[in-house]
Symmetry: C2
Subunit: 657 residues, 2 copies
Amino acid sequence: MNTKRNVYLDLKNIDDARSVLFEQFGSITTQIEEMDVVDAKGRVLAEPAVASVSSPNFHAAAMDGIAVDASFTFGAKEDSPVTLEPGKTAVWVNTGHLMPESTNAVIMIEHLNIIDDISVEIEAPAVPWQHVRKMGEDIVATKQLFARGHRIDSYSLGALLSGGVFRVNVYKKPRVLIIPTGSELIDWKTAGAGDFPAGKVIESNSVVLGGLAQDHGAEFDCHPTIADDLSAIREAVSVATATRERSGKAPYDMVCIIGGSSAGSEDYAKPVIESLGRVLVHGVTMMPGKPVLFGSISGTPVFGIPGYPVSAIVVFEQFAGPLLLNMQKSKPVHRQTAMVSPARKMASRLGVEEFVRVKIGSVDGNLISSQLPRGAGSITTLTEADGILRIPKNVEGISEKEQVKATLLRPLAAIENTLVITGSHDNTLDLLADQVKTVNDRVSISSSHVGSMGGLMAIKKNACHMAGSHLLDPEDGSYNISYVKKYLAGQKVWVVNLVIREQGLILPKHNPKQIKSILDLHQKEGRFINRQAGSGTRVLFDYQLSEMGISPREINGYENDEYTHMNVAAAVLSGRADTGLGIMAAARALDLDFVPVITESYDLVIPNRFYHTPNVRVVLDTICSQPFLKRVNALGGYSTENTGKIVHRPESGSAEI
Amino acid sequence: MNTKRNVYLDLKNIDDARSVLFEQFGSITTQIEEMDVVDAKGRVLAEPAVASVSSPNFHAAAMDGIAVDASFTFGAKEDSPVTLEPGKTAVWVNTGHLMPESTNAVIMIEHLNIIDDISVEIEAPAVPWQHVRKMGEDIVATKQLFARGHRIDSYSLGALLSGGVFRVNVYKKPRVLIIPTGSELIDWKTAGAGDFPAGKVIESNSVVLGGLAQDHGAEFDCHPTIADDLSAIREAVSVATATRERSGKAPYDMVCIIGGSSAGSEDYAKPVIESLGRVLVHGVTMMPGKPVLFGSISGTPVFGIPGYPVSAIVVFEQFAGPLLLNMQKSKPVHRQTAMVSPARKMASRLGVEEFVRVKIGSVDGNLISSQLPRGAGSITTLTEADGILRIPKNVEGISEKEQVKATLLRPLAAIENTLVITGSHDNTLDLLADQVKTVNDRVSISSSHVGSMGGLMAIKKNACHMAGSHLLDPEDGSYNISYVKKYLAGQKVWVVNLVIREQGLILPKHNPKQIKSILDLHQKEGRFINRQAGSGTRVLFDYQLSEMGISPREINGYENDEYTHMNVAAAVLSGRADTGLGIMAAARALDLDFVPVITESYDLVIPNRFYHTPNVRVVLDTICSQPFLKRVNALGGYSTENTGKIVHRPESGSAEI
């Protein structure tokens, strides 16, 4: 194998890299095109829009009534009304009508005494120009309606048309060519229903970056995926950046090569750009996205974008997107920000700026963030995120007491209306998040998985609205209540059963090693996959081991842990472990074998101050509803006989409200 | 004329009216359609999206290097390295590759000592599963990716494709028919270059509401404009709401009749809905938008939307828009809000909820709002607004000391980066706002016209970054300096000349009454149009009168005033006045005659603490630039000989910084 590696140019920080980008390409704008205003929504004005007509372009009645010359009405009083004759000394008008010649005021119909078919009386004089929309009241011809650089929105269409601007000069949409590369990629159209070979990855980055290009006002084409083949990639980029003979302009305003931007032996983005043009930056001190690359080929900006989905998005939004907006002389989209408190201390690597995806919950009016996994390969860390924290490169971490600025991915109002469930993981929580939408689509549930003890600690720290927990008390075989009394002493909480579920050993299909119990696992030295410390399942496993007098050290793989039942099942499915403890629903989901070990209660722990809030009521109503119960029972491994049952109420003597 | 009027049903408040609307139509959703994920951006999921494959669907190398069975590496140390043979005890891999059979860890290429073509050495053991992306690390098959009701954005496309979801069930876009009505309306295509008859109004509402329908996830058709003709409107609405024989479904999900929703004799929306179905609400206690009307025809919601552009938008956004979103089971768009302080006391009418459009400036970190005109006919009050204050119906006004919540129409970050110029009006300020974009497109200028004295007061109250002023001191013929010293005593301010300009009498083309001077105006009893008190032009006019010994009461029309030069010119153009005092540029813009009266200095007054800020520097650089000077001179009536000249600097002894 070829071990030759490319070399990063000096790593640059984000601002410096962006300066290099804009120094090179900041003066490029797309061509200007003239189009009908009605087709120009979303476009950016390339020149100021100046009204050619006034609005209104005449004096108009602003009320229904009669138009008069105000001087005819002077002296009208209650005891000496003035009589007017429509058609002679007055004219009937409706709102919007042209004011008739030699009238300058409107008297509202409500203020008229209709005497007969030909005359009306008024008991007060009209002030000149009362209830008249004067010519040019909204727009005087020659008024500048919008400065250049204005993006035309729905409201703007009204001002432009009213001001007689029917055609506008706007910037063309920049055209982006997206070239996915990588021998491991497979097109979704050929991927079928999951039956594609192991080692293949569904190509999705081109669709995401295409969407983001649109979000930045551009159009895009997707090149068919190219394998890791230097000459094929070079050929595609060469064609895309070739100058057109006539116009002298490249057919694309930007080219994005996805994949192969790093310094590996099969990373061809750099050699391609080097051979056709010039590399400007390779490597930026940010994570995800460090292996970004960009250069210039025949004056066209060409990006090498790392293939991990989160890296690809961060790179696009930090560099390619702002450049596309700049080509239309438009400003970057300002995302809303908010100050948040991390639920726990966050470490960070010195020397790189980290983009940490976080969930954000609003509890007691405080915004609490909890971080999602940092892997750049995990697109769900972005789709599940409410916001992004940027930790500067010279900062080593953020403590729980600090307030940090989060860039929001969902509107603050939506975050504030989201119910935060923290704690143990159970598959029915996803069902609940979906089912609750059918009851009230304004309520959202955000659940994060930190284990049962983590959930109780989150309640103690006021960092969630409810916690999912299944902590066994070996003394009496009860669940959660003794833990609540011990760890949430003095806090008024309710405990409501969500489900009863079967925990057991998740095993490969047909159980090839014939593991029937934890004792079997121990005796046959099967490889185990554990759950993280603090999870109810870990507590259960440790209890089972101690009952049998087995030391954790005797379990092969005890030190390997996962955070969810589904990840335990995935570890078994992939052969990484022979078994792990988890819920039957997870085994069923991946068509694995299952040996029951125990039946346990999975409860929701809810502080009293939230128990009666509308959002919590919607959730509790939902879990008692037939459609939810039906869906839970269809999963397998669940009993809903206690679902919705209150198993613990706040004691009246508790200190806290 | 027919004086028969419709009658409003009981006026309802906004919440009650919306309740009626949702009680009637809240359960309607559009049909569900299945489509390719790649085409579904912007659509709303009608059912949960569940992954059918894991991502990755195999254990993958997460670094470039060699894949090994970690147990082969145990014991490796600096002084006793372990030798591995790629091809035998190790396998070369690149990031993303499938982990070869019986390997479970990757050693980064940077940590290898390459000995020769067949062997490498390592000086530390590998931990099992190091640098491996485990199967299902991002997505485990069967994971619920999104709950129903999720709107698919660019990021979502990546999660769906990665999870093997290639087709989705989404709600169809609701279809809206928009029917503009009104005999006064003229289509933009036939309006030509302003040469359409007086009394005609360019139809723009249908385009704006169509745009808003799209913004709410719907599609729209526009019906050709219908004159005020009961049977024609009824026919169109009847066709649009007729149920299809086969599907039993109306071809449109919503019909919006624009115009004729009020209670006038030619307001046909109500009789049309009454004759074909049932009116549910007529009249809501809000302004603008009070004459809104809606009802049900064959189960289809039909709106009567007032024809004033701001009313139409407010009504659509309060009622039609949320209903369209609800048809897709989507939530209303949450606009960002911010607390603002009114620059001056705001009156409000009891009994109606007012939507007051405001400009918002960020000065010294405080958000200051200044209200725009309240006329519902003025679309520019929305396009120029930064936000909307909603004043509840039981509140009579808001004092300067109150903080009130504004719904923002521009991102807060953009508002915070906007330079606020308050004070006298001059046409070159619009040029400046446009020209500054060519220098730095991140700087925006927001100017509001409150007269020269208003500008100085705004500086005193810290409500703007600079003020435009042209206040004549009759004592010595100087401009602004004596006023600054008097009204801004103790404040450190700079005064910089923007332009020298000609003020004079604006007169109808060919000056039919042959008014050559203010004395002529007085002697010929011409109708005058004045400027508002506190404006520099009013100060100038009053000074001229007193010099000539003429009392204001002797001037016909002295009590009629306008807020801008352009509106004075429009008053003359429309025949509302014979003349008014204003700048030559305004006369030139509307092709009117002009008799010069005086040459005056128009200066910018800038507090010292803003004078050196980057945004102010950009503005001052712009006004001295050749392109700006050239554009100013092209307007006519200006001299730029002093433009950019500092005419007053802060005195070193001033108290304030």
